[in-house]
Amino acid sequence: MERGLLAYILIPLLSAVIIPFAARNKPRLADILANVTLLAGLSNLAYLLLNANSFAEVPGDGFSLLMVFTIYLVALCVVFFSAFFAGAMPNRQAYYCLLLTSVAAMCGVVTTSDFFTLYIYVEVLAVTSFALITTDDTSAGLEGAIKYFLLTFPASVFIIVGLSLLLLSIGSFSFESVQLFLSAGMPGGTVLFAMGLILLGFLIKSGIVPFHAWTPDAYQGSFSPVSAHLAGIVTKVSGVYAIIRISMLMRLSEGMAEALAGTLMFLGMLSIIVGAIAALRQKDLKRMLAFSSISQLGYIVLAAGLGTPLAIIAAIFHLFNHATFKTVLFLNSASLEHASGTTDMEKMGGMEHAMPWTSWTSVIALLSTAGIPPLSGFWSKLLIIIALWAGGAKVYAMLALLFSIVTLAYFMVMQKKIFFGKKSEAAETASEVSAPMLAPVVLLSAVIITVGLLFPWFYTYLVETIAKRMIL
């Protein structure tokens, strides 16, 4: 646990405790408190990250810092959006309380330096996500929540068994000791088995194929801003983050963990393929986005499995980009649902005139996802492909490249059904959502474009500042 970053965990937690009491009968105050907490944290982090001097004084791993920043960015966008989202929200105070707790838990996940604390935070996160999905207390929401619970529950079992084996064999949970053990070159059958079990648990939690059954249901069933929160950041922190961490550790055991790394890459590739093809066939917007998430997480896992420094940097870069563009798409799906009353793509159509901002921000986000230059997603995908090629996985590199076309294809389908096409009944009555609800997506779209255009500076920053502080 890095002390320097403790404040980012404690302050949202504190707000989470205060909100139900202080804002008991004042929902607006709850909005304000939640927003102010996250905005303060984000501006603080932005200052730290952009200021080289102060950055050097902050303790902690570069990866953790970037992740904390991403968590705050996405959470602030979601919270700000929710404050103006007039959907059915039975209990605002409880909602913000849960959201802020989940932010605290996520910051805990990314700043800890041992597996046990990591596990604790991941479980806290799981409980809050479970409760957040039920914010929408219709049958769909409950179904999603129960599915989420039942399907990710075995993951916890795998992780806890893995942790016990780890404790038995090396007597410690810390990343450092695992790394020391692995790099010592001793035969590490048990440790590797334990790591395999832990990895399996996190693969389930991140919804990688073949463990993806829960994601579409959970995202579809839950309250729209909650799906943005879950898809935008929670699944990444509770699953993919740990996978990247473990890959960074495993790389040191040259050769020993080859089978594990190979499996990871295979599952990543499989996710890319299955997720993309399944997304092509969806009729519900949120389900399509969920499958698209699965496919994009596949890219991250594929790169993480390879584990070369460039691949890890690329994976982290793609993680950040995916957080931004997937949040935009999910928030826009919430706006669309708000405006048209449905998420069934067949019933929408011709929405672009009614909702030009939503339409254009969606186009930016989806083109970035499909890897169309010069948007941010193109560069991270390109880095992943270059890393794969340089690391000798040429077949994977080519497949990953060519599957961008499927990504583009399903987004074309989506764009055609929702924004283009004949004006549907929904489009006749729909109108653009209010400016405050557009602000988060416009902000994130600006991030996508800026990172894409300023790629060289961002890349240099990533390598010189963030990656320098990681043990690669």
Binding site: I372, W389, A397, G421, K422, P456, T460
Partner: protein, 484 residues
């Protein structure tokens, strides 16, 4: 680098040619807030500024100055703009045609919705085209390549009916698929040579796999077999202007990339060039045959473009100096003549509210100027002397016969004869024959003036063939690699 004032001026012109349309495109929605006139003026002004900046570079490149501008990027992805004779040649042609399209649009497009998006995308398209021709780094060429695909996606889907959007998506997916193959090829080069700066790679060999991957991208963009179907489909998309942008400018991107990558940079294996020739030959015949049986006026012209593009490939891939010169001249002549044909078709379609040529007839009496322009442009495409099209076609064939295989030459001869046939058929059905009742009047002055201008330019290019051929000759001497 030479820091003389003239060189600084040229670098500034180079930057303006790329930056003005790309950045300016995003100002168009704001100009629309002021007034429609302000928006239209801005769009046309941006087109003209681009054209003037590109033309400004002409004298500099002829005298052999190296005009470069670069920003260093990590991993060898430097952003390099470099003006040499070939890129300036392409830039001048495409910015000229695009400016003319913008002027013609003011009238033509004024009846439709989504005008602001239309102008934004046309100008963005022009800017990406400029970026593409001036990029000396393969990766940046790819970036601009995709930007043009994005702009054309929005332009083909200009009308939002299901059918149009389907065509737009098809265009986008086909060209992006090609582009991804090309990116794979570029990455192969990147790993093979450790560098993707084309100025440094000049005269290097390229592996066959990489060459074919890049070729896939080029064929997809230039709508050559087996990717030819998207262009006629995009051609039926609502706006003729859009169709023109694709037929006269977009497909040239593919040809330019071929000239740039395989003509003046890499040395490809002889089998590769042979394969290109056979593919192009098949493309010439198949699309000409399709043009012979089509009834939709815009589809005919689009198929004709596919067929003519094949002739350009014949010139560029023959590996012969004369043919290469012919191929480059062909780009110029075809842009002008095909531009004229498309704009004529636009006037005809707008006035008759009809695209089926079998239902037209006798239009010559009521639309004489359009008819004459159409005839002049057709003659140039057919390659009848003294039009510009004759010289380019002649040079392509002259060069190709010197070291081509008989089979390829015969295929192209058949293609050339079919060109004559389908263009005569179309002219006859539209302008000659029985006059239909309530034949429409001539189009508006701006529109008719644009087509007449293109027709006359086509004619005068034939008369003044000395100047372009001198330029292209110099270009080939200066830059050509592996030519006999």
């Amino acid at each position: 680098m030479d820091q003389s004032p003239s060189n600084i001026q040229l670098i500034f012109a180079l930057k303006t040619a790329v930056a003005a349309p790309i950045l300016g495109a995003f100002l168009i929605p704001f100009a629309n807030k002021i007034s429609v006139a302000a928006r239209n003026t801005l769009a046309v002004a941006l087109g003209l500024v681009t054209f003037i900046s590109a033309a400004w570079l002409l004298p500099g490149t002829i005298s052999g100055l190296a005009i470069n501008y670069s920003i260093a990027f990590p991993l060898g992805f430097d952003f390099i703009l470099s003006a040499d004779m070939l890129s300036v040649f392409m830039a001048v042609i495409s910015s000229f045609v695009s400016s003319l399209i913008l002027i013609y649009s003011i009238d033509y497009i004024s009846h439709y919705e989504n005008q602001t998006e239309y102008y934004t995308m046309v100008v963005l398209f022009l800017g990406s085209m400029m970026g593409l021709v001036f990029s000396a780094n393969l990766l940046w060429m790819y970036v601009f390549w995709e930007l043009t695909a994005f702009a054309s996606w929005r332009l083909v889907g200009f009308f939002r009916s299901d059918r149009d959007v389907l065509k737009a998506n098809k265009t986008f997916l086909v060209t992006v698929f090609g582009a991804l193959c090309m990116l794979a090829g570029i990455l192969l080069v990147y790993f093979d040579k450790g560098c993707i700066d084309m100025r440094l790679l000049r005269g290097e060999n390229i592996s066959n796999v990489a060459a074919f991957l890049i070729l896939t991208g080029i064929l997809a963009k230039s709508a050559t077999l087996p990717f030819s179907t998207w262009l006629p489909d995009a051609g039926v998309a609502p706006s003729t202007v859009t169709a023109l942008l694709h037929a006269a400018v977009l497909v040239k991107i593919g040809v330019y990339a071929y000239a740039r990558i395989f003509g003046v940079t890499f040395v490809a294996a002889p089998e590769f060039s042979q394969a290109v020739l056979w593919i192009a030959g098949a493309s010439a015949i198949v699309s000409a045959a399709a043009a012979l049986v089509e009834k939709d006026i815009k589809r005919i012209i689009a198929y004709s473009t596919v067929s003519q593009i094949a002739f350009i490939f014949l010139g560029l891939a023959s590996g012969n100096r004369v043919a290469f010169i012919g191929g480059l001249l062909y780009i110029l002549m075809h842009s002008v003549a095909k531009g004229g044909l498309f704009l004529c078709a636009g006037i005809i379609e707008q006035k008759t509210h009809n695209k089926d040529i079998t239902k037209m007839g006798g239009l010559f009496k009521t639309m004489p100027i359009t008819g004459v322009s159409f005839a002049l442009c057709s003659l140039s495409v057919m390659g009848i002397p003294p039009f510009g099209g004759f010289f380019s076609k002649f040079l392509v064939f002259k060069g190709a016969t010197q070291n081509g295989t008989l089979g390829v030459i015969l295929m192209f001869l058949a293609g050339a004869i079919m060109t004559l046939l389908y263009l005569s058929r179309m002219f006859y059905l539209v302008f000659m024959g029985q006059e239909k009742p309530d034949s429409p009047r001539e189009g508006s002055i701006v529109m008719v003036a644009s087509v007449l201008a293109l027709a006359l330019i086509g004619l005068s290019l034939g008369a003044l063939i000395y100047y372009p051929s001198y330029y292209v000759d110099l270009l080939t001497n200066q830059l050509g690699v592996n030519l006999q």
